[in-house]
């Protein structure tokens, strides 16, 4: 079991998963989102190879209306 912080909320996953699988589980596949892990950008091109580990802190963002 691994615990990951996603936008400040703790979530548990059975084992280490790829970013790609994680995006799918969260329902964001095909959506325009950007992801930062522990303060560093995870480029979309590396989603299938990058693995999430216990204790990772993720920020997932979208564009919203703003001035």
């Amino acid at each position: 079991m691994i615990t990951i912080s996603i936008n400040g909320e703790l979530r548990q996953f059975p084992q280490s998963i790829s970013v790609m699988a994680f995006i799918e589980v969260m329902g964001y596949s095909g959506k325009r989102v950007a992801l930062e892990r522990n303060g560093e950008i995870v480029p979309r091109s590396t989603f299938d190879t990058a693995q999430l580990n216990d204790g990772d802190k993720l920020e997932i963002v979208v564009a919203v209306g703003g001035g």
């Binding site: 996603i6 936008n7 400040g8 909320e9 969260m26 329902g27 964001y28 959506k31 325009r32 989102v33 950007a34 992801l35 930062e36 303060g39 950008i41 480029p43 979309r44 920020e59 997932i60 963002v61 979208v62 564009a63 919203v64 209306g65 703003g66 001035g67």
Partner: protein
């Protein structure tokens, strides 16, 4: 007339830049944007709402980046580090898009910019390849420093964000324009059409606003008013106004050939 606004080598026909926040819904956002004629639109970068249905409509569907130049902002950031991280996320989100609006705030009540953090963030972002349009105070010395760092537009406030107080210090805007060669765009404080026209008559290269449109009773009509005000103000600036004088001894009609008085 070929009078384009050129930012970082790209030319734009509209000198009105608008925000996409505070509208009733996406339909109103889009209708107001169209009425404003704006080509550059600011967007915010925010955490996805984890509980929310991922299929809900989103801004990118209504305001497609293929039709507008996105200007992702750092609204809500109070440190250089947060602003830089936000814009790196924005660049990833928008497929390498590098034109951004940097704003680092100093105080949640006034939303006045923290220029020390702004300068630090600008340095990092420029070194990282971003084209930085920077929101700042109307301090001419800070403005020149931001230009020296490599910012592609200087965007001083006219008055506080969301205040609608208009152009409080035209003299400082003038000092900035006299010293800076990149575009100077008034960002924040415009309340109504005349404020936008005044900014343009002063010689500003553009005006950026959000609340003045979204906060109007009829945002779409106000968007159209702002478009006309920016165009009118720009034309008046280019035309060159007559000098002000308390009285003129020179009426507009001929002084000769006036019919005789019958009074005596």
């Amino acid at each position: 007339m070929n009078d384009k606004l050129i930012i970082a080598g790209k030319s734009y026909s509209s000198r009105l830049l608008v925000g996409t926040g505070k509208y009733k819904d996406f339909t109103e956002t889009r209708t107001a944007l169209d009425a404003s004629g704006a080509e550059i639109v600011t967007v915010a970068i925010r955490r996805v709402n984890l509980g929310q249905n991922a299929n809900e409509p989103n801004l990118l569907d209504t305001v497609p980046p293929s039709q507008f130049t996105y200007l992702p902002n750092t609204a809500g950031c109070y440190t250089a580090d947060d602003a830089v991280r936000t814009l790196r996320l924005a660049r990833e989100l928008l497929d390498g898009h590098s034109l951004v609006k940097l704003e680092v705030l100093g105080d949640p009540q006034s939303l006045y910019p923290n220029v020390i953090e702004t300068i630090a963030a600008a340095r990092t972002l420029v070194a990282d390849g971003f084209q930085v349009m920077v929101y700042t105070s109307d301090d001419p010395i800070i403005a020149t420093q931001l230009e020296d760092i490599g910012c592609v537009a200087i965007m001083p406030l006219a008055s506080l964000i969301g205040s609608g107080m208009g152009i409080l210090n035209p003299w400082n805007l003038q000092l900035i324009m006299d010293r800076v060669s990149v575009p100077v765009i008034v960002d924040a404080g415009v309340g109504t059409a005349s404020d936008a026209a005044i900014a343009m008559e002063l010689g500003c290269d553009g005006v950026l606003m959000n609340t003045a449109i979204a906060g109007a009773q009829n945002p779409v009509l106000m968007a159209s008013a702002m478009k006309q005000a920016v165009e009118a103000g720009r034309s008046a600036f280019l035309a060159g106004r007559m000098p002000k004088k308390l009285y003129s001894a020179s009426p507009s009609s001929p002084t000769a050939g006036i019919i005789a008085s019958t009074r005596n």
